[in-house]
């Protein structure tokens, strides 16, 4: 029984390691800034997730107690990782793109990163005063 758990724990660690390496390799290989952003999100999901699963399994099988901290790490990672990715994407849009190079923003005029105070004033002036 013990060797089965040892096998599972090492399998999760190896899977996590592979995805970590693929994530770092992607950072080098992909050739435009927005595509590069995809690599770190991959490392945080399955890469870190695999290590955390291995850690939980290890604590449950060989430790004295059932460890829950890993679930918390997953939760906090899932809350914070999209925000950092969003920040970097916004910096890219702000510095490398203009309104003309971006795709059309559907029924609205432009993307929020390219919004200016003048746009806001125009919107407020156009809006129905009852809504404000």
């Amino acid at each position: 029984m013990d060797s089965l758990f040892e096998f599972l724990v090492s399998a999760f660690l190896v899977i996590a390691g592979i995805f970590g390496i693929v994530g770092s390799f992607g950072l080098l290989k992909l050739d435009d800034p927005m595509s590069r952003l995809h690599a770190p999100t991959k490392a945080t999901t399955l890469g870190v997730g695999g290590v955390l699963l291995a850690s939980m399994l290890n604590a449950a099988a060989f430790g004295e107690y059932f460890s829950m901290h890993e679930l918390m790490i997953t939760l906090f990672l899932f809350l914070t990782a999209p925000i950092t990715a969003h920040f970097i994407a916004k910096v890219h849009i702000h510095r490398q793109e203009t309104r003309e190079t971006m795709p059309a923003a559907g029924e609205d005029d432009h993307w929020a990163t390219h919004d200016t105070p003048e746009d806001e004033e125009r919107r407020n002036a156009a809006a129905d005063p009852a809504d404000l």
């Binding site: 992607g26 995809h38 107690y65 969003h86 849009i93 923003a105």
Partner: protein
Amino acid sequence: MNLFRRLFPHPLLTLLLTVTWLLLVNGWSLNSLLFGLGLGIMIPFLTQAYWPNRPRLSRPLKVIEYVLVVLADIVQANIIVARIVLFKPNAERRPNWITIPLDLKTPEAITALAGTITMTPGTLSADVSDEGHTLLVHCLDAPNPEAVRAEIKERYEHRLREIFE
């Protein structure tokens, strides 16, 4: 009922905070349960003034289904993206912007959708339009943008609408 609402403005948040505290303590005791419950009551009560118009979850149990769907998709999409990174030459890859017209109205639901899109590898939410009606998503490899848009709308946005609206 009115008094209950005043004391517990967000009952689900109270529950979530209590469970989070117990998980952080990493053990079960009456002591930590009471302290967690104290935090769970105090924090929503003290912050309710700063969070008006909070959406009420109409079907909280759907959250479990949503989380499971997203987790399964993350594993599946990870493998697809790993294959793209390892075996697909950059010249054949078709990175693309995709715009998603939003049916969701509440900011909280749109945030949840954007976070989900970022966490599922291969797609990354980058921006919203100035009035919040469209979401901008970057795709690592999307030869067929229509299909990605339809999948996101059907798998995630539809479920989030059931949860939030």
